[in-house]
């Protein structure tokens, strides 16, 4: 029981991070990734199963919300920021895969 819920939480964590990395806007993307990491880390020693379930439910709702907003941002598009995301700048926050593709064509 504990092992499966741990796996479930980790799956949720990974899914949320994966989804957040697709935000087009730099500020939203970095905020989401940072907040998800910090929030999961802060609650990692939670023992009470009722509380854990409440947090998991909240995380699921937040994942749905992130999915919707990412969809919206992919449709609407977002600006790139000068000198933080512009040509030849890499961001620390997890989309280095984009950048390698970029360099190959650049």
């Amino acid at each position: 029981m504990a092992a499966s819920s741990r796996a479930r939480v980790l799956d949720l964590y990974r899914a949320m991070l994966r989804e957040s990395k697709q935000f087009s806007a730099y500020n939203y993307r970095t905020y989401a990734i940072r907040k998800i990491r910090d929030a999961f880390r802060e609650n990692k020693n939670m023992k009470d199963p009722v509380e854990i379930q409440a947090l998991v439910n909240k995380a699921k709702r937040d994942l749905e919300m992130i999915r919707r907003q990412v969809m919206a941002s992919l449709k609407i598009g977002a600006f790139k920021l000068r000198n933080i995301e512009g040509p030849l700048m890499t961001s620390k926050h997890g989309h280095s895969s984009y950048c390698t593709l970029f360099f190959h064509t650049g």
Partner: protein, 481 residues
Amino acid sequence: MLLRTAWRRVAAALPAAQGPSLEAPTRGLRLRVADHAPQSAVPSDTATAPEMESVLRPLYMDVQATTPLDPRVLDAMLPYLVNYYGNPHSRTHAYGWESEAAVERARQQVASLIGADPREIIFTSGATESNNIAIKGVARFYRSRKKHLITSQTEHKCVLDSCRSLEAEGFQVTYLPVKKSGIIDLKRETHQLVASHICPRPGPGSEPATQELEAAIQPDTSLVSVMSVNNEIGVKQPISEIGRICSSRKVYFHTDAAQAVGKIPLDVNDMKIDLMSISGHKIYGPKGVGAIYIRRRPRVRVEALQSGGGQERGMRSGTVPTPLVVGLGAACEVAQQEMEYDHKRISKLAERLIQKIMKSLPDVVMNGDPHHHYPGCINLSFAYVEGESLLMALKDVALSSGSACTSASLEPSYVLRAIGTDEDLAHSSIRFGIGRFTTEEEVDYTVEKCIYHVKRLREMSPLWEMVQDGIDLKSIKWTQH
């Protein structure tokens, strides 16, 4: 539940197929290639994001002017912009009922952020309208017995202008000066050379005394209005003490908390606040909405400014804009959850910014008290550098000198003048805003560019040369031709 099912229907109806995450990298790649080579054919695939300008945008470091919408707030607002478009005052059908339910939910969210009862929250079009209602409404209601108001010299323009218009109606207003730290003087403490609108009381020697709050309260004072966090210098006023003084003297206390709500803990009962103005777009909510808190126990009577169908308890007639109000409520709820996390982060980033700049540049002054200070608003004066030219040089960062409302005029900010800043330092001031979404990289970049350009501008400045040679600029007699 309702929202989620509604959203599933909307999502199903969306025309373009949202591909799985595997497709995202190529979509992102195409966008970047398009940015880099604008002459090449724009991809005709309608599933890609529409072409954004190929010009890159500056970093946003001006959160005191306005803030971006939090994605959670947009998420809460969208259903009410798309599907639940009813008028909350329609009593006869489901569109009205669900809209009204949303408005009441938002009211509860705003109230719980400040420790109020939902019946004490009135939705308005923003903090400016709330300030107008608070000041003009209270003054006019009690005009038969009370003709005096007190405010401070560092208030927002809308407060000062409301007071000015009341003066034209026959009221008397005291504009309290502030100490050099930017904080209101509560009791007779120190004597300072600060210009005051009221004739200074003669004190020992030739220095005028500062007007302090307790002494300024007269028997016919109806209202004291002092903002919680200043939007230009970030100074936090001692709200609890002011509330205590006002309630002991039976005077209503209004605070413009537009920059403070959701960022520092505020409780209207602990701090004895009778009226409070809230702004939506300062707390990652939508623009065009705000709220005013008006105490019910003991009841504060306010004369309504806007006549009409009697909505919002008759205090503010007009259809309540459901999507905006839902956004404000969501912003308040998010702010309540994130307050501690954001405050810790913003303090760390602010510390980083100030330390790095102060370490690398001499002759930099931080305006406003460094202790009673909201960390996200940093106002620095760079001596021997012209503020406008520094702003132009920092074209990759969106900053401001002085508040957005007064940036049209060329005169230095009245707030800086009120805290006794020299003319030349007031012209060289820049306001850095750090918010929930600001990253360490943005702060580092801003600091780096700021240091570079200040050094460069100082190199070009003859005044700086003279200072380096040890000449005291104040001793120079500038000749007139």
